[in-house]
């Protein structure tokens, strides 16, 4: 029973006396959605609102056409800098499953699967804090994937990684998508956006300026701001 | 989460066992509230073992100033009281907290001071003369100031000498609010005179150049008594053990033992219990 589509109805988020984000849209299952825009456009806020880490000042956010039924278990998020728990790699992956009371044998099997798919099998017993940046991000992905979410939010997941790690992370994201999870992701890397996206949401100064499928967005952006951004002109 | 829970249970189990341990199972015990002078002199370490051996009763001594010891006994936190201030003792019995005041033993107070003796009290015969000289020359005097038996005795002497120390407090007259030992330490460090019981002084390990400068005045007589806490007032008092202890102290065994206690070969306490029989 999927929790999608996600609808944001006349949602606004205000802080410090300013409106930082306004939007009215829905997100359906299907290919990945990229959220693009310059710094300060409100991309992170958008993700956090969707995920439930922030509450909207106005409007409401609903899952699957109904009022918010706290669907935390069917969605997950990966942050730009992943937070590692002070325990082994395997224990990190098992964490989400443990707190939701998944029984031991099922848990162990799923952890093993994830270790395999993220290429971290050999590091299973090591302390998560001893992993490299790229490995930690793969672990964060695996940790989220283990929950078998309907939707996965990612906030600039490869921003701090070297090209090799970035490639590994992108592969995992694609695998997650193929397994049936909807991906909603922000990025500054336009090449990455082209590689992974199905459709694009473009934000500028807290407003949704454009939404289109990936090919059309990159070839002929309709809004002035999007065009400038793609040319590398808008920096803030 | 399970870890936190089981840790908490373990903690509770430990706490429960501590409470069980506190009740002290089969051992017979008795709580004696007494003064620092009897404890610090080492009297109890000498006096109690024979009693404990012959009766199997462990005596737990709480050494505090006379005032505090009486307070403990009034609250029912002790079974037997042994102090050395007659008026307070009589009031204790009159107020219904004690069964009977039994004179037990006596010794005396002495005035100690620095070898230099700036007030020149050595050679005087009476304590009141000595106190007068000290006040006149404004030599430093350390008082216990804690309403103990020794302190009350000291107050009595000032009164007998007709000296009012009110204005001198903080000047040459230093009120410490401390036990005998702490007062002696301070007196030695300050080069002050002080009043002390002979036994505590004899056992004191930090005399430096201080010495006894005046002794022998009848006013310095120091009487100790032992009183059982009245079970009509405090029903939980260990009546049987208390009777045994008081009887033993007043009878020949206790009295002889007190007589035998010596420091550096000198007898410190002189037994003077009344002969048994009704008054």
């Amino acid at each position: 029973m999927t929790i999608l589509p996600l609808s944001l109805s006349e949602v606004a988020y205000e802080a410090g006396g300013r409106t930082l984000l306004e939007c009215d849209l829905s997100i359906r299952s299907g290919p990945a959605t990229m959220v693009l825009g310059p710094n300060g456009a409100g991309k992170s806020i958008f993700l956090r609102l969707c995920h439930g880490l922030l509450q909207p000042t106005r409007g409401h956010i609903d899952w699957r056409g109904t009022e918010d039924g706290n669907p935390t278990r069917k969605q997950a998020m990966v942050f730009q800098k992943p937070v590692m728990l002070r325990r082994s790699v395997a224990a990190n992956i098992a964490y989400g499953l443990k707190i939701h009371g998944i029984e031991r044998s099922i848990r162990d099997r799923r952890v093993d699967e994830i270790l395999q798919r993220t290429g971290l099998r050999d590091a299973a017993r090591r302390s998560a804090l001893s992993l490299s940046g790229g490995e930690q991000q793969r672990l964060a992905l695996g940790r989220a994937w283990a929950l078998e979410p309907d939707i996965l939010f990612l906030d600039e997941p490869t921003a701090n990684l070297d090209p090799g790690s970035m490639a590994a992370v992108e592969t995992i994201i694609c695998d997650i998508q193929k397994a049936g999870t909807k991906i909603v992701m922000t990025t500054h890397d336009l090449g990455q956006a082209k590689r992974l996206a199905g459709d694009v949401i473009f934000l500028y100064r807290g407003q949704v300026k454009e939404r289109a499928d990936v090919a059309r967005f990159f070839e002929s952006p309709e809004s002035r701001e999007a065009a400038a951004y793609l040319k590398g002109e808008l920096l803030w | 989460m399970v870890k936190v829970g089981s840790g908490f249970l373990a903690g509770c189990a430990l706490i429960a066992s501590l409470f069980a341990g506190a009740t002290g199972a089969a051992e017979k015990t008795l709580t004696l509230a007494s003064t620092t002078s009897t404890e610090n002199s080492g009297l109890f370490r000498f006096l109690l073992p024979p009693f404990e051996k012959s009766t199997g009763i462990k005596v737990r001594v709480i050494a505090a100033g006379t005032g505090q010891a009486i307070r403990l006994a009034r609250n029912g936190d002790a079974d037997v009281l042994m102090v050395h201030h007659k008026p307070s003792e009589e009031k204790f019995v009159a107020d219904g907290f004690g069964v009977k005041r039994n004179p037990l033993m006596y010794n005396d107070f002495v005035i100690v001071g620095p070898a230099a003796d700036q007030a020149k009290i050595k050679g005087l015969r009476t304590a009141t003369d000595a106190f007068t000289r000290i006040a006149k020359s404004q030599a430093l005097f350390a008082s216990r100031g804690d309403e103990s038996g020794t302190h009350r005795a000291e107050e009595g002497l000032w009164k007998a000498a007709g000296i009012d120390r009110g204005k001198a407090s903080g000047g040459w007259y230093r009120e410490l609010g401390a036990g005998m030992g702490a007062t002696l330490n301070a007196a030695v460090a300050m080069g002050a005179y002080t009043l002390t019981d002979r036994a505590t002084w004899a056992a004191f390990g930090n005399k430096s150049s201080h010495r006894i400068l005046l002794e022998g005045d009848p006013l310095l007589f120091n009487q100790y008594s032992v009183i059982m806490v009245d079970p009509r007032r405090h029903p939980h008092v260990k009546l049987a053990e208390a009777w045994q202890f008081v009887d033993w102290l007043l009878a020949e065994e206790g009295q002889t033992r007190i007589e035998e206690f010596k420091i550096n070969g000198k007898q410190m306490f002189f037994p003077n219990a009344a002969h048994p029989g009704c008054e």
Partner: protein, 237 residues
């Protein structure tokens, strides 16, 4: 002064070398009382601190300020209060706990629980800042979060517990009043030091003090070793 210290040192060494049984008795009781108090304080204070860090409720700021202030409770005041509670004339007199080691444990536990809780709160809050979004994202409920923070912050929290222990083993005001310094029963290191000082046996008192300090160092060193061995070392990158 140098003379006093050196004679105190040789006295201390002598006492230890002889395995002086009287010394063993008071050291044993000191450890029993203070370690028990620390256990109680840890069981209550560590989760309490973490809960204060994680839960948001009206009056939270006031609760934190109060908790921090309670760290400064004078031991002698606590001793007096516990005495009044446990005295036969007091509300809990029927328990017969006064002048027993249990009373001393109670008094010391009251003394150090605020320290452990306040430090736990500070340490937990720092870690919670980092963990909050990630843990909530993974679906952790507040109780889960408390457990995770307590485990992950275990090295820092051990230091908090050691701080409590240090305060307990070193204090004399509370244990003197509620314990009564009864020979072979409620006499611990600090009350013995006080007693020997009052008897003018300054070298012996110093020697005991030195032994107490060495003991405290030893226990803290052991705690440090345990912390390292638990594998909770910092990020090695």
């Amino acid at each position: 002064m140098v003379n006093d210290f050196s004679s105190a040192f040789s006295l201390a060494l002598g006492l230890i070398a002889d395995f002086d049984p009287a010394l063993g008795e008071i050291v044993g009781l000191s450890l029993y009382v203070s370690l028990s108090a620390v256990l109680v304080a840890a069981v209550i204070g560590l989760p309490l601190g973490a809960a204060l860090a994680v839960y948001r409720f009206p009056g939270r700021k006031a609760a934190i300020v109060t908790l921090n202030a309670l760290m400064g409770l004078p031991p002698v005041f606590i001793g007096l209060t516990v005495y009044l509670l446990l005295s036969r004339s007091g509300p809990l007199g029927a328990l017969g706990l006064l002048f027993t080691p249990t009373a001393m444990i109670i008094a010391q536990a009251i003394l150090i629980t605020p320290i452990v809780a306040a430090l736990s709160r500070q340490i937990s809050e720092t870690l919670y800042e980092t963990y909050r979004d990630q843990l909530r994202s993974l679906g952790a409920a507040p109780l889960d979060i408390i457990g995770t923070i307590l485990w992950d912050a275990r090295v820092g929290l051990l230091t908090a517990v050691m701080a409590g222990f240090g305060r307990a083993i070193a204090e004399v005001g509370a244990v003197f009043i509620v314990g009564g310094n009864i020979a072979h029963f409620t006499r611990v290191m600090t009350t013995t030091i006080a007693l020997e000082t009052s008897k003018g046996n300054l070298a012996l008192a110093m020697a005991l003090g030195i032994i107490l300090v060495v003991l405290a160092i030893g226990i803290n060193a052991a705690a440090g070793i345990i912390a390292d061995a638990s594998g909770a070392t910092e990020d090695t990158r």
